[in-house]
């Protein structure tokens, strides 16, 4: 159908390059001697469909930044643009924004999940009927259909959090702000939320996510920004950051049973560390391609010495986000 392709291309053209642009945001609290710079020169951009993990220790300024983006805290300087509009000047900018804010339940306790979804849909300028039917869909996705008519105050903390996330999604936002969305969720609910975040991102929504669970950030994010004492100290694609910190990573091989003495000596002479039933090999920091080739040649030599012993595990030791985070934040 020609109309479909037409509407698609129109969509592509109207899709902004960035769902969120914030530039040089600054915020101080208090006056005089009490004055405290909570956020300094923070600039963040997120493209449609991208997940940005915004990480930092307690009090680093994450929540302050998110609330400045949402128009809830006025920045001292800097600007925010959501789909080209400034939420501090024009409330319409908030039309495409969904948010789950920190520590709050964000819900009316006396209302049921469905009533909450319907109300917040209307508050986000949806037609009431649509809000209700989309609310039902979301309850299905979150496995809360049976609880739809129970007052929210009687639900568990984790269920309340799931509903808060559903409420943030009711109007199909283009920008989703999630301040610690997996706090207080059990393992399964945490996984549901992770999956959902992925789905929402795939549908083209830009997501800004803060969390202290770095494994969540590692598995969800396309990019990471780390903030410390109000300043962004690193901003990179997640995988590039991990690769950068994994450069001089080694290999770990574990075999079944114990290594005999001759094999031990042969492997140790290649420069690896040998234990009873494991070997770890750290090549010299690979500066060039020939260094890399040398390192993997050595690895194959070790493997041929081990042949035909049964191998339990073999892996490259990669840095994970937790190690990287701790290193960066301590500096």
């Amino acid at each position: 159908m020609p109309s479909v392709s037409h509407s698609l291309s129109a969509d592509l053209r109207s899709l902004p390059r960035f769902a969120l642009v914030s530039e040089a945001l600054n915020k101080s609290y208090g006056r005089g001697k009490q004055r405290f710079e909570a956020v300094r020169d923070v600039s963040l951009k997120i493209a449609p469909g991208e997940v940005l993990a915004f990480l930092g220790p307690n009090g680093a300024g994450k929540t302050t930044t998110i609330k400045m983006i949402a128009g809830l805290i006025r920045p001292d300087a800097g600007k925010v643009e959501i789909a080209g509009k400034d939420p501090h000047r024009n409330p319409q900018a908030l039309q495409g924004v969904g948010a789950v804010l920190e520590g709050n339940r964000n819900l009316y306790w006396r209302l049921t999940p469905l009533e909450n979804l319907e109300y917040f849909g209307v508050l986000r300028q949806m037609p009431r009927k649509l809000a209700k039917s989309r609310g039902m869909d979301l309850l299905k996705t979150f496995g809360l259909v049976e609880r739809r008519n129970v007052a929210v105050q009687k639900l568990s903390r984790g269920m309340q959090q799931k509903i808060a996330i559903a409420v943030a999604l009711i109007h199909q936002p283009h920008l989703l702000l999630l301040d610690e969305p997996t706090l207080g969720l059990d393992v399964e609910a945490g996984e549901t939320v992770k999956q959902l975040v992925r789905q929402v991102a795939e549908s083209g929504c830009a997501i800004l996510l803060t969390t202290h669970q770095l494994s969540v950030a590692e598995s969800l994010s396309d990019r990471v920004a780390i903030i410390r004492e109000g300043r962004i100290i690193t901003e990179q694609p997640t995988q590039a950051l991990i690769r950068q910190f994994s450069k001089d990573a080694g290999y770990y091989i574990e075999i079944e049973g114990r290594l005999d003495t001759s094999r031990r000596e042969a492997i140790a002479s290649l420069g690896a560390t040998v234990g009873d039933s494991y070997i770890s090999y750290y090549p010299e920091a690979a500066a060039s391609d020939s260094d890399k080739r040398l390192a993997s040649a050595t690895l194959y030599k070790i493997l041929s010495i081990l042949d035909p012993l049964p191998i339990v595990e073999i892996r490259q030791e990669r840095a994970n986000l937790t190690d990287i985070f701790l290193q960066l934040v301590k500096q």
Binding site: L72, L94, N104, L107, Q125
Partner: protein
């Protein structure tokens, strides 16, 4: 905008009626307090029955106005505090409608509910005391000016709730001041006292309502013009202050704190 209004209406009703015992308790307390005042007034004036008639009607009208105004003035401030505590306040400020529209829709929704409740209390009081207050259609005019002025005050105190967070003492003090002002027949004041009564919030409208409902007088248009001016001015001041308070809370970063 219509959907927003219906949405607010539904939210307010469901939240209120989810616990019917609270609603019934409210009616009982309102009626009981009135009965106390009624018996006390009878005792102090030493009269009962016939001669007490007009006075009784004036007291009934004054009492009903008092409960209505106290409710309106409390409504915005206490809801702001409660919603800050449960975390919904920031979500409300995330609405693309903008806070003023949302709070206006809320005010209308909760007022409708309250008026119904007050009518119920009024019916009980009338049945109990045999009061003979009148309901001429004209009473809508001073009622509107009363509401304007009361909402002006409500937004005024709501502004303090947004910025200072603690307004409980202010609210209870206000209840007493208002109680004594309504117990005084300020509409009979003359000279400089008259001027003061015209400038104070709500009072010009309450005098008119008492005249219409308890004393069977017709509407005094000059006094209504004063009441209208009074209402419009208080409403404007209240809403302007509220906008300022919203900005102030956003500058302090305390919109959602309590």
């Amino acid at each position: 905008m219509i959907d927003l209004f219906i949405g607010e209406f539904k939210r307010t009703w469901v939240q209120t009626l989810r616990y019917p015992s609270e609603v019934i308790g409210g009616v009982v307390i309102l009626t009981a307090v009135f009965y106390g005042i009624f018996v006390g007034a009878q005792y102090m004036t030493g009269s009962s029955g016939g001669a007490f008639g007009d006075r009784l009607d004036a007291i009934v009208v004054g009492y009903v106005i008092w409960t209505l105004v106290v409710y309106i003035v409390n409504d915005i401030a206490t809801n702001l505090q409660m919603e800050a505590r449960t975390g919904t306040l920031e979500q409300v400020f995330l609405s693309p409608f903008g806070a003023p529209k949302v709070f206006l829709a809320r005010a209308i929704a909760s007022l409708t509910l309250r008026l119904l409740l007050i009518l119920a209390v009024l019916a009980i009081i009338i049945a109990m005391t045999g009061s003979q207050i009148a309901f001429p259609p004209m009473l809508l005019l001073p009622l509107i000016t009363l509401l304007l002025s009361a909402y002006g005050l409500a937004f005024f105190i709501g502004s303090f709730a947004l910025v200072l967070k603690k307004v409980q003492q202010v609210l209870s003090m206000f209840q007493f001041v208002l109680f004594f002002l309504l117990a005084t027949p300020t509409e009979d004041w003359t000279g400089p006292a008259r001027l003061v009564a015209n400038v104070l919030p709500i009072l010009p409208s309450t005098g008119l309502l008492r005249d219409l409902m308890a004393r069977n007088q017709s509407l005094d248009w000059d006094r209504w013009a004063i009441a209208l001016l009074n209402g419009v001015i208080y409403f404007t001041i209240g809403t302007l202050l509220f906008r300022w308070a919203e900005g102030q809370a956003k500058r302090q970063g305390t919109l959602g704190s309590y």
